[in-house]
Every structure is written in structure tokens, then in C-alpha cells.
């Protein structure tokens, strides 16, 4: 075991890190464990391909998202329109690719908001005992029992117009949706980080740092935080998927991005009244959401196995 495993790890992933054969870096070890999760490994490729397509597709596939062609209304997939067209004859491939950019951007940006808020609150609660911890956890529990979708809808309904007038229609809605979705997803992260802090701050290496005179800030930033990141990374992955679903849900209810910005949820919203005559119209954006969310969830599962070795059976 000891002889064969490091060799395969260096051959596959750790070689790139420039490590000697005998020592495997923690990240190399994690990558080795990640690759053992077959579905997660393949999901990484599928998601990578999808993201490349969404990022660079519009540069190669030069059909406008708003090019109206009444000759080809509600046409099924063909050579000219690989994914078919919608009720105005607009090309669906171009719209799905463009919408993917927005859906993925919302997903990642909302995840960042959730992680930053969650880590900050969890870290403050975890390092300061007493009433600050109690108060922050009460707020966390309160946010956990808020009905999220109704509040999301209400917030967007109230604040859509003023933000539109300040930042412009696209950026304003983007900002609002990202902040609101991220603002409702930080609680699990905060709880995770707090629990990690509770156990880590009693560990010997933190005690050693404290004995050497490290300030609280240095203990947190250099010693505790980096060691509590494993579960946070897993939570972050799942959060991207959840944020993409949340954004699509808002758009599907007609309360997300404005109609001229075709996010995946918005295309579905427009397509749902044509289910019987133009099935392809709703299938492709729906499949895009499904594949993205599924692969992200699988990757999250693989990362859990890779970064949290205690949990692996």
C-alpha cells in the first residue's frame, strides 16, 4: 500500500506540484481521493466542458440572441438552428449559451457572498465566546427559519426598480439577485465554521501559537481558518448549485431578470406555454440547468470524500 499509492499519485496529479516522489502534498492526496469518486471525476470534465462552451461558445457561434426570424418560428432542431428556435424565431443555442453565462455567474457570485458572510459570522462566533456567540447564533437560527422564497420574491419586488435606475437594468438586477440569494444561504456555512473553530482552537498547534505570543488575529488567519476550510469548500460547491436553482426559480416565476435577458429559468418561463407544440424549447434550458446542478452536486460529493477523510467509510 505504502509503496504503490504515492507512485500513482505522483504520476497523475502531484507531479504537477513539483513534489518529490516520496512525499505527497495534502492537495495531491485529496486529488487522488477525489479521482476515486468516479462520478465526481467525470462530472468535473462535463462541467468544465459546459463552462468552456458557455464562456467561449458565443465567440465561435456568432448568432445573435435577439435575431428574429419569422420564417423559422418554433422550429425544431436542425442544421441551421442546432437547438431549434422560439416563438419569435430566435436561435435557442445562442440564447442557452448566453443564459448560461448569467446563470453560472449568479451561481458563483452568490456562493461568494454566502461564503464570505458565513465564514465571517462563523469565525467571529467561534472565536469569541459568551454573548456575542449567543447573539450571532440566534440570528443564524432566525435566518434559518425564514421562508426564503417568499422573502426573496418580496425583496426583489420592492427593490427592483430603484436598483435598476441606479445600476442599469442588467447590473442592478444581477446585484440584487446575487446579494439576496447569497444573503439567505450563509447560515449553514456559519454553523460549520463555528463548529470547526470550537474544536480547532483547543488543538495543540493553536495553543503553541498562542504560547509563542501570536495575536488572536494571527491565530485565526494563519492557523485556525486554513484548517477549517475543507467543509467550507464542500459547502461552497453545493451553494453554487443551490444558487443556480434559486435564480432559475425566480426567473421561472417571472420575477428574475427582465425578459430581454435570457437566463435558463427565463427561457423556461417563456417556453412553458408552448409545451405541446414546441417541446425542444423547454427541454434544452431545463436540461442545461439539470446537468449543471447534477455535476456540481456530484463534484461536491467527491470533494467531501476527498477533503474530509474521516467521513470516508
Amino acid at each position: 500500500m505504502a509503496g504503490s499509492t504515492p507512485a500513482s499519485a505522483t504520476a497523475d496529479g502531484a507531479a504537477a506540484l513539483g513534489k518529490a516522489r516520496s512525499s505527497v502534498s495534502p492537495w495531491g492526496e485529496a486529488w487522488r481521493r477525489f479521482k476515486r469518486h468516479r462520478l465526481a471525476y467525470w462530472s468535473l470534465w462535463v462541467l468544465g466542458a459546459l463552462m468552456l462552451a458557455v464562456l467561449f461558445g458565443p465567440l465561435v457561434y456568432k448568432v445573435g440572441i435577439n435575431d428574429i426570424d419569422f420564417q423559422a418560428r418554433l422550429a425544431g432542431p436542425s442544421l441551421k438552428h442546432p437547438l431549434g428556435t422560439d416563438d419569435l424565431g430566435r436561435d435557442l443555442l445562442a440564447r442557452v449559451l448566453y443564459g448560461g453565462r448569467i446563470s453560472l455567474a449568479v451561481g458563483f457570485a452568490a456562493m461568494l457572498v454566502a461564503i464570505v458572510v458565513g465564514v465571517t459570522i462563523g469565525a467571529i462566533a467561534g472565536i469569541s465566546r459568551g454573548w456575542i456567540d449567543t447573539a450571532l447564533m440566534w440570528v443564524t437560527d432566525l435566518f434559518l427559519s425564514l421562508p426564503q422564497l417568499p422573502l426573496l420574491l418580496v425583496l426583489i419586488f420592492f427593490f427592483r426598480d430603484p436598483l435598476k435606475s441606479v445600476f442599469g437594468p442588467e447590473a442592478g438586477i444581477f446585484l440584487l439577485i446575487v446579494v439576496v440569494i447569497g444573503g439567505f444561504r450563509w447560515m449553514p456555512v456559519a454553523r460549520l465554521v463555528r463548529a470547526q473553530f470550537f474544536s480547532l482552537r483547543e488543538k495543540e498547534f493553536v495553543e503553541a501559537a498562542r504560547a509563542l505570543g501570536a495575536s488572536t488575529q494571527r491565530q485565526v488567519v494563519r492557523h485556525i481558518l486554513p484548517n477549517s476550510l475543507g467543509p467550507v469548500i464542500v459547502a461552497a460547491t453545493i451553494d453554487v448549485a443551490a444558487a443556480i436553482i434559486a435564480e432559475s426559480t425566480l426567473s421561472f416565476l417571472g420575477l428574475g431578470f427582465p425578459p430581454d435577458i435570457p437566463t435558463w429559468g427565463r427561457i423556461l418561463f417563456d417556453a412553458k406555454d408552448y409545451l405541446d407544440i414546441a417541446m425542444h424549447w423547454s427541454m434544452f434550458p431545463g436540461l442545461a440547468i439539470f446537468v449543471t446542478v447534477l455535476t456540481i452536486n456530484f463534484i461536491g460529493d467527491g470533494l467531501r470524500d476527498a477533503l474530509d477523510p474521516r467521513r470516508v467509510m
Binding site: L39, D141, L142, L144, S145, L146, P147, Q148, L149, P150, L151, L153, V154, L155, F157, F158, F159, D161, P162, A241, I245, S248, T249, F252, L253, G254, L255, G265, L268, K272, L275, D276, M279, S282, G286, I289, F290, V293, L294, N297, F298, D301, M313
Partner: protein
């Protein structure tokens, strides 16, 4: 136990209060003025408008307005719908039963699927059954409810023509026919919501049973010569359910979110679609009241989960 229930109920009250503060803050911060319509109406002189504002307390400080709002909410005076021209509480009472029935039925379906599948998958981990069930559950909770809803409509309503895809509240039939029509039109929404929940619960049940199965007392039960069936049903499942109940309670807000989407897809006249309609038509009193009802429901179900918790693990209620 009575003491425990009382303590839990008392703990739920500050949460409800906190939620009401958040809701009111959103409303107070929101731009736009309920008097906008009057302000642009040339027939209303400005001094009448100002007098009306003062009379209705719109110029009072925020915390006074919050006090007024909260006390009238508690008294059951929820205001008047701008659009429907009836009292908000009447409107909500008309819509609430449908939502409760659909959500309740879908949760029962989710439990009926998730419990046996999760337990069977955990009893034989990494078997074929476990692999297939786990993969299906991943697929299940990666499919957003609005997409499964559309797929169900496409397949069962349009292709097979088994179920109607528009929910009708005004079914004229009576007796058995009435029941049958209602069940028939509820099958798809209940299945969409229930299967989505079942997919994520199944994973909780599985991992929780896996944790418990390895404990020493389970080995003891086995070595006493108890049958596997008794060991699993009597010893493992009850203890494994404790963390599941917590996770399910944490998911309550998501369940109501799913209900809003399903009601919108199948056009079920519940409070979820009422909320969407109210938002699209700027009907602020209805929006606030429905959001508040949703919050109340979430807190109520968290309370139920806490009580269930106390029943599953009696140690908790004595602490």
C-alpha cells in the same frame, strides 16, 4: 414533557417576533408610497393628502408604526386587498386549505419513499440497490421542481393524457366523483413535490442509519439473537431518525418554496400562487400577510419537529 413543550413554545415566540421585525423593516425600507395614486390624482388637494397621511399615522416614527402593525396583525386585522376588494384574512383562509393538503400529502409521500429506500440502502451499503438508489436520489434533487413539473405535464398530460394539468377548484361533481376528480388532479403536483423531498431525505436517512448501524448496542442486539428485522426496526431506525428530524425541520423553508413553484406550474389556487399574483399586481397587504403566514407555518413545523425530537429521544426533554 409538558414542561418541555412549554419551553419550546416560549422559545418560538421570539423567533416569530424577529421575523415580524425583519418583514416590517423590508416594508419600511421599500421605496414607493401607498399614497402615490392619490398624489398623482388632481382631484385630491394636497392638504387632504397630508391630513390623510397624518390620520393614518404614516408620518409617525418607524417603531410606532411597527407597534401599530404588529398589534393589528395580532388582533386579526390584516387589512384589505387592493385587487380582490375583500379582507386579506378571508382571502388567505380561502386559499390556505389547498396548500396545506398538497404540502401534507407530498410530505407523506416523501416519507413513504425515503424511509424504506434509505433504510434498505444503508442496511446493505454499496450494494446494487444502494448504488441505484443513491444515484437516483442525486438526480432527484438536482432536478428543480419547475422542470420536473413541466416534464410531468409533458409526459402524463400531453402524451398520455392521464391527468389534467390545470388544477380546478370548482369541480361540479358530487360524492365519489368529486373525490376522484380532486385526487386525480392532485397526483402530479403531489408527486413533483414529494419525490423532490424524498430524494434529499433518502440521503439523510441512509447516512444516519449508516452511523447508527455501527454502534455497539446494535451489535449487542444482534448477538442476543434478535432477528435482523427486529434489530433494524426497533433498535436502529428510531435512533437514526433523530438527526433526520432536525434536517427535515431545517428544510421546511425549502418545502414551502417548492410549494410556491408547484402551485404556479399547475395553477393550484393556494397561498403560493396568491403570493405570486399579489406581487405581480402590487397588492402589498396580501404580500405582507402571505409572507407572514409562511413564516408562521415554518416556525410551527419547527416546533412540531422539536416535539417529535423530544418523543424520539426522551433524554432531550429532561435537559
Amino acid at each position: 414533557m409538558g414542561n418541555y413543550i412549554l419551553r419550546r413554545v416560549l422559545l418560538a415566540l421570539p423567533s416569530l417576533l424577529g421575523i415580524s421585525v425583519i418583514l416590517f423593516t423590508v416594508l419600511a425600507l421599500a421605496p414607493g408610497d401607498p399614497f402615490e395614486e392619490l398624489a398623482t390624482n388632481p382631484n385630491v388637494p394636497p392638504e387632504v393628502r397630508l391630513a390623510l397621511r397624518a390620520q393614518l399615522g404614516l408620518d409617525d416614527p418607524v417603531w410606532t408604526r411597527y407597534g401599530h402593525w404588529l398589534s393589528s396583525m395580532l388582533k386579526g386585522d390584516w387589512g384589505f386587498s387592493f385587487v380582490s376588494r375583500i379582507d386579506v384574512d378571508t382571502l388567505i383562509m380561502q386559499r390556505l386549505p389547498v396548500t396545506i393538503v398538497i404540502i401534507g400529502a407530498s410530505q407523506i409521500l416523501a416519507l413513504l419513499v425515503a424511509l424504506p429506500v434509505g433504510i434498505l440502502a444503508a442496511v446493505k451499503p454499496y450494494s446494487w440497490f444502494d448504488r441505484i438508489a443513491s444515484t437516483l436520489s442525486f438526480i432527484g434533487f438536482s432536478l428543480p421542481t419547475f422542470f420536473t413539473g413541466l416534464l410531468f405535464i409533458l409526459f402524463f398530460s400531453i402524451q398520455l393524457d392521464w391527468f389534467p394539468f390545470v388544477y380546478r377548484a370548482d369541480i361540479s361533481a358530487t360524492g365519489w366523483q368529486w373525490w376522484w376528480e380532486h385526487i386525480r388532479q392532485s397526483i402530479m403536483p403531489v408527486a413533483v413535490l414529494g419525490l423532490f423531498q424524498a430524494a434529499s431525505w433518502m440521503r439523510y436517512v441512509r447516512s444516519s442509519v449508516l452511523d447508527v448501524v455501527r454502534l455497539d448496542y446494535v451489535s449487542t442486539a444482534r448477538s442476543k439473537g434478535l432477528s435482523e428485522r427486529v434489530v433494524i426496526n426497533k433498535h436502529v431506525v428510531r435512533n437514526a431518525l433523530i438527526p433526520v428530524v432536525t434536517l427535515v425541520a431545517l428544510q421546511m423553508p425549502a418545502i414551502f418554496g417548492g410549494a410556491i413553484v408547484t402551485e404556479q406550474i399547475f395553477r393550484i389556487p393556494g397561498i403560493g400562487s396568491l403570493l405570486i399574483d399579489a406581487i405581480l399586481r402590487n397588492d402589498t397587504p396580501v404580500i405582507m400577510a402571505v409572507t407572514f403566514v409562511f413564516s408562521g407555518l415554518v416556525i410551527f413545523f419547527n416546533l412540531v419537529a422539536d416535539l417529535l425530537y423530544g418523543w424520539l429521544d426522551p433524554r432531550i426533554s429532561y435537559r
